[in-house]
């Protein structure tokens, strides 16, 4: 039997009807057309499906859509504002932190959750924050650099 849910996705209120066995990643991709959230393993091992649920980075393949009822969801599509890339997105582009791009949405959202909590993270904190997001292309170095740079940009922007 389908269940009615109400939630906020990328700032927009959404009402939907979902099957109990539908995961959040299936709901976002199949029902909402938000295919920026990637499906990599389905078992919470890779982090490609990371979204922010009430501000916290989670594997959306291990969250039921019904469990997101009443929650705030941020996906990669909701990060840029007015067509302008979020500093994290810009830094990922500028620093060469993107190769195949399949881990990128999840990686950026894990980084966003980190910077929201710790605006000035150490390198170890950055590496820890993205340690559930696997990347096979980059060796993580440029990702770590990009997150560090984005943190600086955001701090500078908020100071001025």
């Amino acid at each position: 039997m389908k269940k009615a849910i109400q939630l906020t996705i990328n700032g927009q209120p959404v009402e939907a009807s979902v099957s109990p066995n539908q995961t959040l990643v299936q709901f976002l991709r199949d029902d909402m057309g938000l295919t920026g959230t990637k499906h990599g393993c389905g078992l919470g091992d890779c982090g490609a499906c990371t979204v922010l649920l009430d501000g916290k980075a989670v594997n959306s393949c291990l969250v039921l859509a019904v469990q997101a009822d009443g929650c705030q969801i941020l996906t990669i599509e909701g990060l840029a504002e007015n067509g302008k890339l979020h500093p994290l997105q810009q830094a990922f582009v500028d620093k060469g932190a993107i190769q195949c791009g399949f881990c990128t949405p999840g990686m950026i959202l894990s980084a966003k959750a980190l910077l929201d909590e710790k605006p000035n993270p150490t390198e170890l904190e950055i590496r820890t924050a993205i340690s559930g997001n696997l990347c096979r292309c980059t060796g993580y170095q440029k990702i770590v650099e990009a997150i560090g740079e984005a943190a600086e940009v955001i701090r500078f922007r908020e100071e001025s």
């Binding site: 499906h39 582009v93 791009g101 881990c103 096979r136």
Partner: protein, 786 residues
């Protein structure tokens, strides 16, 4: 090096914003009205005769549109190399590994497709199976393919010079063996495909592949569709690293089911199915002897390889050749002997993976060099410097090092890592090690025997002259080939990168063999450059006619056109351009004629301006059997130094630092080159320390997940120092060559040499888990006591 405006910079990738915002589309992101979902039935048994397949119940399940088996698919054999086509889309007489495909279904949704699979009844007669490559070679072992007695899939025997005589004359000969484990590429995007068969008879596949061209050919052959009616479109791909280098049962099943049902058909592999499909790194056993003179001069190398190929050939013939041919350098040898055996076992087929065929044998060889240096009392770096090849050298197996910055790489890492102050001076538990390697910049020959061009490119200018559209069948799989082609086009045309768009990965755009053997930069780069040059000459011709100036006086650069180095007189062109584009926001301005105006003139005179380019390598290599494998127009090379800490009480290894130098010729994009280098190191670190696909006693994979098949996380990777060395490659476009695979060659042996430096224990089996190292340390200590 030339004075470049676009090339040799750190330009951000052109696909960056799309990927950073989630707009970039991958195969699983496509959806079409009426799409059916497919699923494949795979064998739960490693080796069995198929007695009967009953699909009647599955066909009757509401929502099921089609069920296909070998009856519908036929028995057309396919594979990678025509010399060893040993697969059919669906197994018909027997299954040869857990995961062998038996049937596929298409249904209105995924749940129904899965349910239908459970309703297909297969009667098996289980056969004895063999899972170990050495067991498989023994007399009396279960036979997997009738055509290949003794389970011998391929044998290679090559000798250059008289190796036994050369070894006998050496001052010192040291032996070593090495065993890696079956690995997985562990790209983050599982294979996915959407097939659309149209009533016209045309089949289009939107698929996650490295090789649209080969997929097109294989699918056309197996599904019996004229090749001109098959179009393969590769959207963005979430990593490949080798295993996506061949047509998959997933692609063929989707195509067949779309043909049968008339609906678009979509399917994605689960992560477990990615492991079952495999086609990733083989298990290699290496046995080597290196002979040297007292002064450290290397003389002769004897190399034996046994490869566990799994149930089918896949890329295996090339793999077993590469394990020999890629040891010919980067050191000078007087003689070399190679005996390679690829063996069938009842496990998923292995294929190509980053550093194809070379990685394990390189690991053995580079350890052997360190062992020899130690015996001779030489610094491992000095020993290598004494023997390395230089630009213009030819390996003993006739590979031409048309450029080779090996010396520069070694010197760069020696300095960059402060080697001289560390080697031999670190406390117990800390170690430093180094290694070298080299790799092809594109295979010298296609996989099938053919005179085909390896790459063709079409560049088409927009009607206003403001945009150059590059059309290519090349495969952007994350390595950055789209950006590379855009940069080469922009540089050649003398325009900005913003004025180039790349349309790639589509067999309708051009011919391109795809992203394997590190070939895109060199080969597609050549074709792109030639196409851009043709455009330039067309524009120059029309300008010279229109303005009545000699062609030789016209030059392009920075988005403008100069005449004898000056502005010339082009007033009427500008007036006309502005008149034609009245009301537009960006009229051309400035002292010089813009490229845009010049391109517009060309269009007005000749219609759409198109330039085409093409590339295939000249005849390469020697004339001995198998000489083609290992040939390339150019070779990249690299050297690495790794520093480790070993927890002597647990055996846990922490890689503290890596210093890496790679000669990629001209670095088209320095940021992308570093990205390839760092990614290679990460994969090498994982393969060295963690990665192993494990099987139970019945041939089932124990760890088909990214939780239990462990690739490095951000916390496992150290900070890497990446040093780009740029030789000038005469056979590369603008002097460029590979970086994508060569960079992984030294990683594993450099780590192993560092572990030896830290502990005094030599490990010759991967992965070096804490347990393996701890037990070796314990055994070593007990040995010392006795």
């Amino acid at each position: 090096m030339g004075d470049y405006r676009v090339l040799n910079t750190r330009a951000p990738r052109i696909d960056g914003p799309a990927k950073a915002t989630g707009q970039a589309k991958y195969a699983d992101d496509f959806k079409m009205p009426g799409t059916l979902y497919a699923a494949i039935l795979q064998s739960p048994i490693a080796h069995a005769r198929i007695l009967h397949i009953d699909t009647s119940k599955a066909k009757k399940l509401p929502g099921v549109k089609a069920v296909v088996t070998s009856r519908e698919a036929g028995l057309i054999k396919y594979g990678v190399s025509p010399a060893r086509y040993d697969e059919t889309l669906f197994a018909h007489d027997k299954v040869r590994y857990v995961g062998d495909e038996i049937a596929a279904v298409a249904a209105f949704d995924q749940d129904t497709a899965q349910e239908a699979l459970s309703l297909i009844k297969v009667d098996y007669e289980e056969l004895p199976a063999v899972f170990d490559m050495f067991e498989a070679m023994k007399e009396g072992a279960p036979q997997i393919h009738n055509e290949f007695p003794g389970n011998m899939n391929a044998e290679v025997h090559q000798e250059f010079g008289d190796t036994d005589a050369a070894l006998a004359a050496c001052d010192l000969v040291i032996d070593h063996t090495f065993l890696n484990k079956r690995q997985d590429a562990a790209f983050i995007e599982p294979h996915s495909c959407l097939a659309v068969y149209e009533p016209s008879g045309r089949l289009t596949l939107y698929t996650s592949t490295q090789v649209p061209h080969y997929v097109m050919r294989t699918v056309a052959m197996t599904l019996q569709i004229p090749v001109g009616n098959v179009r393969v479109v590769k959207p963005y791909v979430g990593g490949g690293f080798g295993p996506k280098c061949e047509a998959t049962p997933l692609e063929m099943s989707c195509g067949l089911l779309s043909k049968v049902t008339g609906h678009p058909v979509k399917m994605s592999y689960s992560r477990e199915q990615v492991f079952l499909h495999s086609r990733a790194r083989h298990q290699f056993y290496a046995e080597m002897s290196l002979g040297v003179m007292k002064d450290g001069t290397m003389v002769a190398l004897k190399n034996k390889a046994v490869l566990d190929g799994g149930a089918y050939t896949s890329f295996g013939i090339a793999t077993v050749y590469y394990s020999g041919s890629l040891l010919g350098g980067p050191y000078k040898l007087k003689s070399m002997k190679y005996d390679g055996y690829r063996v069938y076992t009842n496990k998923p087929a292995c294929g190509a993976q980053r550093g194809h065929g070379g990685v394990a044998h390189r690991a053995c060889f580079e350890q052997l060099i360190d062992m020899t240096a130690e015996k001779l009392g030489m610094d491992p770096i000095d020993m290598r410097l004494k023997n390395i090849m230089m630009t213009g050298d030819m390996t003993v197996n006739e590979l031409d090092m048309s450029s080779l910055g090996m010396k520069e790489c070694i010197e760069a890492i020696r300095k960059g890592s402060d080697w001289n102050n560390k080697k031999g001076k670190l406390p117990k538990g800390k170690g430093i090690g180094m290694a070298c390697g080299f790799f092809v910049s594109g295979a010298g020959y296609p996989i099938y025997r053919s005179d085909t061009y390896h790459s063709t490119v079409v560049i088409k200018l927009s009607e206003d002259g403001g945009m150059a559209n590059v059309l290519t069948g090349s495969a952007e799989i994350g390595q950055g080939s789209d950006t590379t082609m855009a940069m080469i086009a922009a540089e050649t045309l003398g325009i900005s990168l913003d004025n180039v768009r790349v349309y790639s990965g589509d067999t309708d755009y051009s011919v391109d063999l795809g992203a394997y053997s590190s070939r895109q930069t060199l080969m597609t780069g050549h074709a792109t450059k030639e196409a851009a040059e043709e455009i330039k000459s067309k524009i120059a011709l029309y300008l010279s006619q229109e303005l009545n100036v000699p062609i030789a006086s016209i030059t392009f650069g920075d988005g403008i056109v100069k005449f004898d180095g000056g502005p010339g007189n082009f007033d009427k062109l500008r007036t006309n351009y502005i008149k034609e584009h009245r009301g537009w926001t960006d009229p051309p301005s400035g002292e010089y004629l813009t490229f845009r105006e010049a391109a517009r003139l060309a269009y007005l005179r000749a219609g759409t301006i198109v330039g085409t380019g093409k590339y295939k390598p000249p005849k390469l290599g020697g004339s001995y059997k198998g000489a083609a494998v290992g040939t390339s127009p150019a070779y990249g090379c690299s050297a690495q130094i790794v520093e480790v800490s070993v927890d002597l009480d647990t055996g846990q290894i922490t890689v503290d630092g890596m210093t890496d130098a790679h000669d990629c010729g001209l670095a088209i994009n320095k940021m992308s080159v570093e990205g390839q280098m760092q990614g290679s190191l990460s994969m090498g670190l994982g393969e060295c320390l963690f990665e192993e696909v494990k099987f139970d006693s019945r041939g089932r994979i124990i760890n088909p997940s990214l939780g239990e098949y462990k690739i490095p996380t951000a916390l496992d990777m150290p900070k890497v120092k990446s040093i780009i060395v740029e030789s000038n490659e005469p056979n590369g476009p603008y002097g460029a060559k590979e970086v994508g695979e060569g960079a992984i060659m030294p990683t594993i042996p450099a780590i192993l040499n560092a572990i030896y430096d830290a502990t005094g224990v030599r490990i010759n089996e991967l992965p070096v888990t804490s347990e393996r190292l701890f037990m070796a340390l314990k055994k070593n200590a007990e040995g010392a006591k006795i």
